[in-house]
Symmetry: C2
Subunit: 516 residues, 2 copies
């Protein structure tokens, strides 16, 4: 117990005193203090930094909102900082671990009720601990003709991912856009509901997002201003038809043409869901191992990559997307899409029944139907399980795509890493997720990965690209790139933080927002 | 000058001293103090209350953001409350007038630059004073193939309407959803940008809504936390085809069946834009006058309404909507829509070329193509120009629609007024706008209208319906209906208000948020 990191300004006795009071609320079993008792589940083992850099002092897991409020009040009284997690699967961005060592993890996994399923208006209300898989299975079991939209890992929290503004693979892939209605607990234990839910007997809490007066839901995302305890989530009615497709493009430089073709199809919605453009190694790593093609140090050489592409029938870029709707609508849109991307020399088109036995195409098809799975985790076997995601946003143009790609791949190679990435074509922007994979047991790799990430943040910012989300270790650095008018926006965040959480107990350091 | 209402706690000398300093910033011409000099333009002449209830002490109109910041700083120093307007056309909800007499109107009409038009990514950046008509004409003149989405009045502010979370008639009708990027000035003059604009050299400010960290744009809507000075607005690329349609339904009780048909078409997007269901008098008042059908007091009797419906080929309900996209997609969706609504007995379908010379259908078609016009103002001639809008939100079900309709029409009739209303079918909710029209010169009508409005707020709330927006005179009453957990959400609003505007100089009372 002597190695326990403590929150700033708290003695171990203060902390343990508070935890004892919390145990009276949640039961002893749900205050976790020792590694042997399960505290290791709250470590970030994939980080570029050692586990100690984000090691919690303990974890507490309330069973319901009432217990949660009591726990928060105790923490607020004593000054114990809390790091809220839902299912704790914020993989690549820190997982379940807190920003600062010694922070107590507030684990909401036990609050996992599906509170409402409204079939006719196509929404659910969930607690933080409800995972994609749980929700999916609930709908399946009850033959409810609604689709969820999931992030890649099935075990992720529906609410938690939306609060981090994550994305998915159906037309409902903008998870924050599909959120409708929040219940929030503040640092002092106050509970309130947003939007129409602010009316006691409202019948539209989960039907109309904005309510009356300031629309404040968004301030609780990627933030530490409050704790979301319930969320309304819109679901997509099962469409009358689906047509998933994959198109491979042979050359890295095709990226320019692909994106120029994509933009005028994405903006008016001819392409209805995220157009995911994964590079060769990403797609290949789902079905093969690095060793088969290269056993040396440093990035996999071009020759090995070409061999892999040929073996696996993959391109330098591989686009997966899907059409949804009445078959006649799908046919019309497909004609445009097929014709457009066929202009890229060497493009190869695969439909649903093609590529039999390719686990990459199988999991893509599942994600685009909102069927949660764990296939994407195969990627972690590529190098040994270390993994941080670099996720800058860029305009959806060929020039910007090539520029961002070049910055990331050339730096990755220079620092000795493979470039493993996806471009997500959004409505008007694209996000590039560079999965920086490394061996966490290798201190040198870890250090290089850590340096590379900082270089990428700086070079991206110099080119006008900002990250939409980032790993714990880089939250301050990324925040510092948001520098308009001397960081004026973060000063506004700090004012709101002080107003809603004056003692600064909620998630200190989250997204670069610290207590003052 | 002796009748000038003064802000609380300020002497006329304090106020005039501040205004003199503001005149040094903006020029004497742009500090308006006397009715004869144009102050009457800031009165709300359509209210149920006398003009004195919302009479400003004066108005000041800066030419640019720099002048605006200086004006705000002076106001903050002296304690002069400011009521910000963009084009001042918030008609039915208070127009340009402040919530509290004596507040100084901060008129941003001179800040009317279209700062950027991005054709390939389909957005514009505008200042507050840019009207729908101005933006439309700019795009037309330059042959830019982008459509705007306008509120009914052409003179409204693109930015201002979005900040009030107003709606329009194309698939981009949720104006707040189509906003991307804000610049805001706080009460102390601080300027910041939201989302990606918080990065100095960002290239995605108007492409990606959320940025990094808390997503705070929404707190500046329907609020008094800051002043929006620039906004990115997504525009719809001109579609390859458009098919507007109008369907009339003969009986009031058809509303139930119509809404039950509408919901499963709206939720999956078969109906792509707002399904506007206007009642007989709304649609009829566009092309005729009340006198032609009824000259008595009180609501127009059933017999007169039936005569009007027959003469004008209108139904008790009249739905206008449109399809957009490739012709083959339109054809497919139209088959479903035509077949579905034809199930309502007596439904009559009109397409674009039908109803030649009907100004009602003409203006509806224009709105659904984003062509600003002023036709809807014909409605104000119905009774003499008094007008407040009652706008509750309800679930999109037949039962709820009939219940809300009955509450509004029966109370309107009981208080002696016509029921003039539209239901807007949204994505999962519907909003009913009851235009309460009265003669503002008639003190008795005014008083009855005022009483009716309060009755409606109470009865709606008792049935679970809350207003999404309301007239100045009823902002506190509506806020009080948002009563969950003892009004906890408004207490949060007050905390944020205090943090961002500690002296409470911005728009006191807006949406029921007052300085403390």
């Amino acid at each position: 117990m002597n190695n326990r990191p403590l929150p700033d300004g708290l003695s171990e006795a203060d902390l343990l005193g508070g935890l004892a009071r919390m145990a009276e609320v949640v039961g002893k079993k749900w205050v976790i203090l020792e590694p042997e008792a399960g505290l290791t589940a709250y470590y970030d083992t994939q980080s570029t930094l050692p586990i100690s850099a984000s090691m919690p002092s303990g974890a507490v897991a309330p069973a319901n909102t009432d217990e949660l409020q009591k726990v928060v009040k105790i923490a607020n009284e004593i000054g114990i900082p809390l790091w809220t997690i839902s299912c704790g699967k914020n993989i690549g961005y820190g997982g379940p671990a807190p920003r600062k060592p010694g922070t107590l993890v507030l684990d909401l996994k036990r609050m996992n009720r599906i509170l409402e399923v409204n079939v006719e208006s196509a929404y659910v209300v969930v607690e933080p601990g409800v995972s994609y898989l749980q929700l999916y299975e609930h709908l399946q079991k009850n033959n409810i003709p609604l689709w969820i939209d999931c992030a890649a890992p099935a075990w992720g929290s529906v609410l938690g991912n939306a609060m981090e503004r994550g994305g998915g693979y159906t037309p409902y892939g903008d998870h924050w856009m599909m959120q409708c209605g929040l219940e929030v607990v503040l640092a002092d234990g106050t509970l309130f509901r947003t939007g129409m839910g602010a009316m006691e007997n409202s019948n539209t809490w989960n039907l109309f997002k904005y309510g009356y007066g300031p629309y404040i839901d968004g301030i609780f995302t990627q933030s530490n201003f409050g704790i979301a305890t319930k969320m309304g989530v819109w679901l997509m009615p099962e469409p009358p038809g689906v047509k998933p497709y994959m198109i491979t493009f042979p050359r890295e430089e095709d990226l320019h043409q692909i994106i120029e073709i994509m933009r005028p199809l994405k903006v008016p919605g001819v392409m209805q869901n995220a157009a995911v453009l994964s590079n060769l190694i990403w797609e290949g790593a789902i079905s093969t191992t690095r060793d088969r093609y290269y056993r040396g140090d440093g990035p996999m050489p071009e020759s090995a990559r070409q061999k892999m592409a040929a073996d696996l029938e993959l391109g330098a870029w591989n686009m997966t997307s899907s059409l949804y709707g009445p078959p006649a609508v799908i046919d019309t849109l497909w004609q445009v899409i097929e014709e457009s991307f066929s202009q890229v020399k060497g493009a190869r088109i695969y439909l649903a029944d093609d590529r039999a036995g390719d686990p990459g195409w199988e999991y893509r098809k599942k994600l685009m139907r909102g069927q949660p799975n764990m296939t994407e985790f195969s990627l972690l076997n590529w190098t040994g399980g270390g993994h941080v995601d670099f996720s800058p946003v860029a305009p959806m143009t060929g020039d910007e795509a090539m520029n961002l790609f070049n910055i990331c791949q050339s730096n990755a190679h220079e620092f000795g890493f493979d470039y493993v990435a996806e471009f997500f074509g959004g409505w008007r922007q694209m996000v590039q997720v560079f999965m920086l994979l490394f061996d966490p047991e290798d201190a040198d790799q870890r250090e290089r990965a850590n340096q590379l990430f900082s270089v990428l943040i700086r070079e991206a910012a110099a080119n006008g690209y900002g990250e939409y989300r980032t790993n714990l270790s880089f939250m301050d650095e990324v925040a510092a790139t948001y520098d308009f008018n001397d960081g004026a926006l973060w000063k506004v965040h700090q004012k709101i933080k002080r107003a809603l959480d004056p003692k600064g107990i909620l998630a200190p350091g989250k997204q670069g927002i610290w207590p003052l």
